[in-house]
């Protein structure tokens, strides 16, 4: 194979000092019954002020990867290997105490379900002010003033009244805005958003997406945005990473990955999404289910479901193939001779 292979994506990106550097991240959950390999060697870089969208189905390891960045996993049961550098902080090495300081101020997270992310017994204002007081030591009055500013920032109508409201008194869209306000309260440099719009209506989802993108640009934050909706990724991403069974199987500019996907899984996922197809024809569904993370197959994890899989695919995991634009795919049938990545189903077939 004359493909340009590089395990480290930093060689493909022009800027030398990425803000977030994840290298060969592996996360295992160990229990008496089995070892679940949720993340199996992820490497990526993210520059300051850029948005990375991680796309994948449930069980692909996208949320596990996010939680590792905040060290939210139970310590006893989790084995985390690899390096995670956020700015000058090595997430794997800092003390628990320092980590508590970093959570919320350097790295912050927005969860999928705003109702469970908020405490039902405290008002929205109390919950936002608590974060500010905890991290910045402001007085109660100053913290409430900050909370009001934050609700204005996320464009909650009549914010004074909403500060005194309990979570159940708000609509889903307003609740998610309040959670975003809380996440932004200490001006984090990295915002992790775990499917923040999945539980919302299409009309509200687009409001939240427009808002997040605006705030992200104004504050110059880096953001990792997890979603399973390719349309959401198209709205917000600079870079897109497609995950399958704990690995990034395709990575690149949003345009390259979404409009010119090369990995068979990304292609199949795009084809399986209902979008103005002829209703008299069945959708091109991907047969089968994602693999069991307790017993991952050797070779390419997608091979059992892939219609192009050859004998090589079941034996070894394909190495990443990267082109000059930084578009990467892990598939034996993808080549980057001189130009962009190209999928050719004849490659690597036995002669």
């Amino acid at each position: 194979m004359n493909a340009m292979t590089s395990p480290d994506l930093s060689q493909a990106t022009p800027h030398p000092a990425p803000f977030l550097r994840v290298e060969d991240l592996r996360v295992k959950f160990v229990s008496r019954d089995a070892t679940v390999r949720a993340v199996n060697g992820i490497s990526f870089n993210l520059e300051r002020g850029k948005v990375l969208c991680v796309i994948g189905e449930s069980g692909s390891g996208k949320s596990v990867m996010m939680r590792s960045l905040l060290r939210l996993h139970p310590k006893k049961r989790t084995v985390i290997e690899g390096t995670m550098m956020v700015g000058e902080h090595d997430i794997g090495a800092v003390s628990d105490r320092a980590m508590t300081q970093l959570r919320g101020s350097l790295i912050s997270m927005v969860f999928q379900e705003p109702m469970t992310a908020l405490d039902p017994l405290y008002t929205v204002g109390d919950q936002i002010a608590e974060t500010v007081r905890r991290h910045e030591g402001l007085s109660k009055e100053a913290a409430w003033a900050r909370a009001l500013e934050l609700l204005e920032l996320v464009r909650v109508p009549s914010p004074e009244r909403r500060l005194k409201a309990y979570p159940h008194e708000l609509s889903g869209g307003l609740r998610q805005r309040a959670v975003i306000a809380m996440a932004l309260s200490c001006r984090p440099s990295l915002l992790l958003a775990d499917e923040p719009t999945t539980a919302l209506d299409a009309s509200v989802q687009i409001q939240i997406l427009v808002l997040l993108r605006k705030i992200q640009q104004e504050m110059g934050m880096s953001m990792i945005f997890v979603t399973h909706d390719l349309g959401v990724a198209a709205q917000i991403a600079d870079q897109v990473a497609v995950m399958y069974a704990g690995r990034i199987i395709e990575y690149g500019n949003a345009r390259d990955v979404l409009l010119n996907p090369q990995h068979p899984y990304t292609k199949a996922m795009l084809a399986a999404t209902a979008k103005d197809q002829d209703r008299n024809l069945p959708l091109e569904a991907i047969a089968g289910n994602p693999p069991d993370l307790r017993a991952l197959p050797d070779g390419c994890s997608f091979a059992p479901r892939c219609k192009y899989a050859g004998p090589d695919c079941i034996v070894t995991m394909p190495p990443p193939v990267t082109d000059i634009r930084g578009h990467m795919a892990r598939c034996f049938k993808v080549e980057a001779a001189d130009g962009p990545l190209a999928f050719d189903e004849r490659v690597a077939e036995p002669a």
């Binding site: 307003l174 299409a202 009309s203 509200v204 993108r213 909706d229 209902a274 103005d276 209703r279 008299n280």
Partner: protein
Amino acid sequence: MTDHMMTPRTAPVDPRDRGGPAQPMLIVDGMKKYFPIRAGVFNRKVAEVKAVDDVSFYVVKGETLGIVGESGCGKSTLARLLMHLIEKDAGELILDGDLVGGSTGVLLDGLRRALQMVFQDSSSSLNPRLPIEQSVAYGPKVQGASGKSAKAQARSLMEKVGLNPNLFGQRYPHELSGGQKQRVNIARALALAPRLLILDEAVSALDKSVEAQVLNLLGDIKKQLNLTYIFISHDLHVVRYISDRVMVMYLGQLVEIGPADQIYEAPKHPYTQALLACRLSMDPEARVDAAPLAGDPPSPVSPPSGCRFHTRCAFVEDVCKAKTPKLGDVLKLSADKHLAACHMVHPDSGHSRAPAHATAA
């Protein structure tokens, strides 16, 4: 393969058919449900949530009617009203020519046999203590089938939805994936050989690749078993793919109804237009900078006067606040009828954008 596809109005004759092939499967006339809000020492009614407010429509045999709208617009309440899971306040339900309820009409028992429902949350709608084979066989048993025949039926249904009964029959719900659980729910809904299946967000919680599998399955069994679907979803792409006709709801009312392609290509109601503009494009260059619909829908406790959408509508005029726009004759059968409850559509309504004279009826 395309020639014997679902074509509404010419569905094959079914022995269970009572009203003839042209008789709609279901006619819903003036359905209303107001939930009371009680407060105070005497627990008096202080207000009402107008969840479903005077909704009328029909479903033709063999078609798929899609229902779309934001959360809180009453689509799920409507589905539960049709199933008689909650009591209606007003309105009539005519199932294949027979009035449901009343002294001479179809009994609830019969209705539940003809109408079945698949819910959104695939795991909470299955009994965690029953192996799935027993879950599927439960319905027929309750309706009087012997244990043996119910079991045989359950096994054949599991095969129909693509689950091997030998492999999966004895498993419990927690041992299945989301897609498999939803297949079990579909099998269970089919166990009483229903005529009409109400699918309330049945694929919304599934991953995209699994969603496509379940959508294909729904298409297949519809043809095999001669079913009619009411498909409720907030995913506008999926609704377009699966539906023959689409109805759009806003704050408990029907605002637009018509053939799917007409609704998607030439929406008449500004709400439908805004809702369709909320669909996300796959092209990173085609990003939306301003949300097509600002804010949340108003409270259904005290809906706005006149047209309920006027508080969020870009074309609002005085007439919209004063007069409630009429939808037109929804219950008159016609295959390509496209109606919208908007003053801009109706001639001489007083709106400056309304067509001048009654040219198009």
